[in-house]
C-alpha cells in the first residue's frame, strides 16, 4: 500500500495520454460490457421468471411456420402433469407503418377463456377479462405496449393481414400488466381466426402452450408430448417457454459464436492499446528505473510498480466502461423487445466482477513485457539511457 501513491502519481504523469488510454479502454469495455451482459442473460443466467417456469410450448418439429392440427390439444391434455393447454397462433400483419420499429409487436390469436389460466401472472380487472372472453373480436394488450401507442380500453385497432388473407379489426377489451415480465403482446380472441378461416385448411394451431402442474413435471411432459406425435405426419417439438423464446435468436445466426468473436476481438484490441501505452510510458522512464534501483528498489518491486500502474489505468477505464455499459443496458431495456431477456438486460454482479477482473488482467498483461524488461535492466545501462 505504501507504493500506491507512487503508482497513482506515475499514472498521472502524462495526463493527456492517461486520459486517452482510459477513454479508449472505457469505450471498448463498454461494448464488451453490453455483449457480456447479453451473453450472460441469454446463455448463463437462464432462470425463467417464476410463473414462466411452469409453461411449456409445443410447435411443429420442423419450424414454427408449419401448423399443427387443432385436435392435438385434446391429446396433449391427457398427458399426466398437464394442468391446462391452449392454442395460440401468430398472426403477423402490419400495424400502421412497418418501417417504424415501434410498430412491431407480437399479435397472437389465443383461446381467450384459457389465457388467464395459463398466464397466471397477468393482472387485469375481472370485468376486462370477461369482456375479452365474451367478445370474438376483442383483444387485450400489455400496459407497456398500450402506453407506447396510447391504446385505451374500447379503442379499435386495425392490423393489415400479410400472412393470413384477412385484416384484423379488434377492440381493446383489457389492458394487463404482469407480475413477472411485460411481454408487450397483443392477444386477440382465437374465435376471430375461426370466423375468418371457417372451412379453411389454414385453421390450425401455430403452437400449444401448456401449464404444468409443477416445475418438476416440465421435462417429462416435453418428452411424452413429442413421443406421442413422433411417428405422425406432423411431429412436434416441445420445450419450456423460456427455451422457446431463446430459439428466436437462432434466426439471427449463431449468436453465441458471434458474441464470443466480438468479445474476443474487443479484448485483443484493448490489450494492444494498453500494451502500446505502457511500452511508451516505461520507455520514457528507463533512467528513473535506474535511479530507483540505485536507491535500493529490488527487481520485483520495480516489476510490481509498473504492473500496478498499468492495472490502475486499465481498471479505471474498465469501471468507467462498465458504468456506460449499464447506461446502455437501461436504454436497450426501454427499446423494442427482441427477446424477453433484453427487457431485463443489466450488468449484474457476476458480469461486473468479470469485467473489472478482465480490465485488471488486460492492464497486467499489457505491461508484463515492459515491466519485466525494466526490472531486469542493468542499472548503468538504464542511467545512461537516452531516448
Amino acid at each position: 500500500m505504501k507504493f500506491l501513491s507512487l503508482i497513482v502519481k506515475n499514472c498521472l504523469r502524462n495526463r493527456r495520454r492517461s486520459f486517452l488510454t482510459i477513454a479508449s479502454l472505457a469505450i471498448s469495455l463498454c461494448l464488451l460490457g453490453v455483449m457480456a451482459a447479453l451473453y450472460y442473460a441469454l446463455f448463463i443466467s437462464n432462470v425463467p421468471p417464476k410463473a414462466q417456469a411452469r409453461r411449456i410450448v409445443t410447435r411443429h418439429k420442423v419450424s414454427i411456420v408449419f401448423q399443427m392440427p387443432l385436435y392435438y390439444r385434446e391429446k396433449i391434455r391427457q398427458v399426466p402433469g398437464v394442468e391446462e393447454v391452449m392454442v395460440w397462433q401468430w398472426y403477423g400483419g402490419v400495424y400502421k407503418d412497418s418501417r417504424d420499429q415501434r410498430n412491431f409487436f407480437a399479435r397472437l390469436g389465443v383461446e381467450a377463456d384459457k389465457l388467464f389460466k395459463v398466464y397466471q401472472d397477468y393482472v387485469l380487472p375481472e370485468d376486462q377479462k370477461q369482456a375479452f372472453i365474451n367478445d370474438p373480436a376483442g383483444c387485450v394488450v400489455n400496459k407497456v405496449l398500450a402506453d407506447r401507442h396510447g391504446f385505451k380500453v374500447g379503442d379499435k385497432i386495425l392490423i393489415k393481414g400479410d400472412i393470413f388473407p384477412f385484416d384484423l379489426d379488434v377492440t381493446v377489451r383489457g389492458i394487463y400488466t404482469s407480475t413477472d415480465f411485460d411481454d408487450e403482446t397483443l392477444w386477440f380472441n382465437f374465435k376471430y381466426f375461426e370466423n375468418a378461416l371457417r372451412n379453411s385448411s389454414r385453421l390450425a394451431a401455430g403452437t400449444f402452450t401448456m401449464l404444468a402442474k409443477s416445475e418438476a413435471d416440465v421435462p417429462h411432459i416435453c418428452r411424452e408430448v413429442d413421443a406421442m406425435f413422433a411417428n405422425s405426419p406432423t411431429p412436434t417439438k416441445t420445450e419450456s417457454e423460456y427455451t422457446f423464446g431463446l430459439s428466436f435468436l437462432s434466426f439471427l445466426g449463431n449468436i453465441k459464436v458471434i458474441l464470443m468473436v466480438i468479445c474476443g476481438a474487443v479484448t485483443f484490441t484493448v490489450l494492444l492499446i494498453a500494451a502500446n501505452t505502457m511500452a511508451m510510458s516505461v520507455r520514457e522512464r528507463v533512467k528513473e528505473v535506474g535511479v530507483l534501483k540505485t536507491l535500493g528498489f529490488e527487481k520485483r518491486t520495480i516489476l510490481w510498480l509498473i504492473l500496478g500502474e498499468s492495472a490502475v489505468i486499465s481498471m479505471v477505464g474498465g469501471l468507467l466502461g462498465v458504468l456506460i455499459a449499464q447506461g446502455l443496458c437501461i436504454l436497450i431495456r426501454q427499446g423494442p423487445m427482441i427477446v424477453q431477456q433484453t427487457k431485463t438486460l443489466s450488468i449484474g454482479p457476476p458480469v461486473f466482477a468479470a469485467l473489472v477482473g478482465l480490465s485488471a488482467l488486460i492492464g497486467v498483461a499489457a505491461a508484463v513485457v515492459p515491466a519485466w524488461n525494466a526490472s531486469r535492466s542493468n542499472i548503468i545501462d538504464a542511467l545512461r539511457f537516452t531516448d
Binding site: L12, K293, G296, T301
Partner: protein, 234 residues
C-alpha cells in the same frame, strides 16, 4: 567493524561494445577509511565512474575483489545487493535524477519506503534531511520549481535520509554554476566532518578536489599510486 570501509583488490571491469573490447578499469586497488573524504580524479573516460559504480554495487566487476563495510559484494545476489545498497550507500548523481512527479519531500522519502518505517516517521525523517541541507522551506516544491543547486541538495538529502555509512558522489557539481557548486561541496564537507560520513567524490574539477582529505587519480583505467598524477595533469 574494521576502520577500512572500502577495499578493492585487482578490481577489473571490461566491456564488449559491438566488436570492441574495452578495459574500463584494470587491477584497481584502493582502501578508503571511515570518515575519509576521497576525491577520485581523472580525465573523461578514465574509469572514475566505473570504480564508483562497482563500489556502489551498481555493476559487477569482471574480476577482482571488492569489500565494502565488511561485505564481500561479489558473493551477494541482486536482491541482497539492493537491500545492502539501500541501507549502507547514498548515491548522488551529476544530473540530480529526481523523480519529476514527486515533491522534494516525496523524493527524499522514496528510499525510506523500502524500510519498515510508518508514513508519519518517513515524512519526519525526510523533512529532517531536507532541513539539514537547507531546504526546510521547500518541502512541497516539485523539482521543476527548484534551481539546479537546490535540486542537487534535494538529491543529497535523498542520499543521506537512510543514514548510510558511505556517500558516493558522481560529479555532483558537473551541472551547477560556481556558486551552487560551492554550496554543494560545502554541504558534502559538512556531512563528512560533522556527521562522520565517508565520502567518495568523483570529479575532474580540481577546485572540488580541494574539499577532499585525499585525492586519487585514475588514467586510462588504471588507478595511479597514491600521490601520483597523470601526465600533463596539473
Amino acid at each position: 567493524m574494521s576502520d577500512v570501509v572500502i577495499k578493492t583488490r585487482n578490481l577489473t571491469k571490461e566491456y564488449i561494445r559491438d566488436e570492441f573490447h574495452v578495459v574500463a578499469l584494470k587491477d584497481a586497488e584502493i582502501e578508503v577509511h571511515r570518515g575519509d573524504f576521497v576525491a577520485l580524479m581523472g580525465p573523461s573516460g578514465s574509469g572514475k565512474s566505473t570504480l564508483l559504480h562497482l563500489v556502489a554495487a551498481m555493476d559487477r566487476p569482471t574480476s577482482g575483489e571488492i569489500e565494502v563495510l565488511g561485505s564481500k559484494l561479489n558473493g551477494l545476489n541482486d536482491g541482497a545487493i539492493a537491500r545492502w545498497r539501500n541501507r549502507h550507500v547514498g548515491f548522488v548523481f551529476q544530473s540530480f535524477n529526481l523523480i519529476p512527479v514527486l515533491t522534494a519531500l516525496e523524493n527524499v522519502e522514496l528510499p525510506l519506503k523500502l524500510t519498515h518505517l510508518k508514513k508519519g516517521e518517513r515524512m519526519q525523517h525526510a523533512a529532517t534531511a531536507l532541513k539539514l541541507v537547507g531546504l526546510g522551506d521547500r518541502l512541497g516544491h516539485f523539482p521543476r520549481q527548484l534551481s539546479g543547486g537546490q535540486e542537487q541538495r534535494v538529491a543529497i538529502a535523498r542520499a543521506i535520509v537512510t543514514d548510510p555509512d558511505i556517500l558516493l558522489c558522481d560529479e555532483p557539481t558537473g551541472n551547477l554554476d560556481a556558486k551552487s557548486a560551492q554550496e554543494v561541496l560545502s554541504l558534502l564537507a559538512k556531512l563528512n566532518k560533522e556527521h562522520g560520513k565517508t565520502v567518495v567524490l568523483v570529479t575532474h574539477d580540481p577546485h572540488a578536489a580541494h574539499y577532499a582529505s585525499k585525492v586519487r587519480y585514475i588514467d586510462k583505467g588504471e588507478l595511479l599510486p597514491d600521490g601520483t598524477k597523470p601526465e600533463g595533469w596539473n
